[in-house]
């Protein structure tokens, strides 16, 4: 076992992990943060999206030992009140993809400058949703971005 510590949702945590542990499993089964979901285990669906040092990553592809000393933020860290546009626009249906979708969407919201080069749809392409057809999600991101939501990207 490898003892590691890292910053999780703003607090320092110390855990012992096996070298084979994925961050996804450590979060879900060791730290009881079950908001992060497993959809595919191959970095395709994005249901396990968390932030590693501020960037969205698939927690199923991160060996837990790699987060030692780093910053990890999960869906549990977000402010529920600010998620109102997602509720209003129909961004969630069954909810299984939703925490991952919200994590990516929230990251886009904090980086409005990305829409100068990217479309919301391109930035959301790493999060598969089988219920909404994506319109509710894209609408919510635009709404949450306010004036920054106007896309000028090349997509």
């Amino acid at each position: 076992m490898i003892p590691i510590s890292f910053t999780l949702n703003g607090s320092r945590v110390a855990v012992e992990v096996d070298a084979a542990d994925r961050l996804l499993d450590t979060l879900r089964y060791q730290l009881a943060l079950t908001g992060t979901k497993e959809g595919c285990g191959e970095g395709e669906c994005g249901a396990c999206t968390v932030y590693l040092d501020g960037l969205p990553v698939d927690a199923c592809l991160v060996p837990t030992y790699q987060v030692r000393g780093r910053r990890v933020d999960t869906i549990e860290s977000l402010d529920p009140v600010a998620l109102e546009p997602f509720e209003r626009c129909g961004a969630t249906q069954c909810g299984a993809c939703t925490p991952g979708v919200v994590m990516t969407a929230w990251w886009i919201r904090g980086h409005g400058e990305l829409l100068r080069t990217h479309t919301i749809r391109e930035l959301m392409a790493g999060n598969l949703c089988r219920c909404t057809g994506y319109d509710g999600i894209v609408d919510a991101v635009k709404d949450a971005l306010g004036d920054d939501g106007r896309e000028t990207g090349d997509g």
């Binding site: 490898i2 084979a20 285990g41 970095g43 590693l52 969205p56 698939d58 790699q66 990516t104 930035l123």
Partner: protein
Amino acid sequence: MNVLLPADVPAALDLLASDPAVVPIAGGTDLLVHWPVRVEAHERTYLDLSPLDALKPFSWTADDLVLGALTTYWDVIRDPRIGEAFPLLVDAARQVGAIQIQARGTWAGNIVNASPAADGVPVLMAYDAVVVLESRRGREEVPLDRFYSGYKQMQRRPDQLVVAIRIPRRRYAFQVFEKVGARRAQAIAKVGLAITHSAAGWRVVAASVAPTIRRCLAVERLLETGPAPRSADDLLPTIAQDAAPIDDIRSSASYRTQVMARLLFHDLRQRWGRPA
């Protein structure tokens, strides 16, 4: 399983030298796919490169752009200067998975994963990138177009670590990257093509049509000398010298050949036999 956590690059090189079976790991986006059920992969020993700051940044020299071994796709996408000088790097990076993969996946990892369907390797090869390897025995540079010797076979000794990728700075008169997947985003290439033209000549690099990413030398020769093909089908005999596509669960050999011919024909319509 076991993981080795070196403090710096020399320590990593020592560990690599001491055990030829050790597998370096950077972003993990290839190694951890389906990880829980790949129990045989759990028996190996891994060498974690991720905290080695010396491998992280990319840098510019008078002649080259040098990507560190830990430079990610996202590092490249968000850098306007790279976008100016090497736009195909950005084009390709944007088509590697999505942000979650781009944030973790490294260019060096793409090279050593040696997938015939890689997205990063074709554009690097079309820019004449050079793989910089280091071991306790010293430094070695291998041009990327000579790096692969067969399916998943590379000119890298087990004690060597890819520490950087050197890309010569040139003026390009023409450059294009085409990736054909079964959907627009997040798809493995059914055909990939990176084409550049500079004073060094034409480079045509194809993905998913051979056991490795490879330069298409016959197509390059035809481009240098002409004559211009009158149809995509005219290119088929030349392509047959360069590519050996197969049928697999993602596509068919005939589709891959046809698409390669059509992309080459249409992308290069005006350019056969013209100087840079």
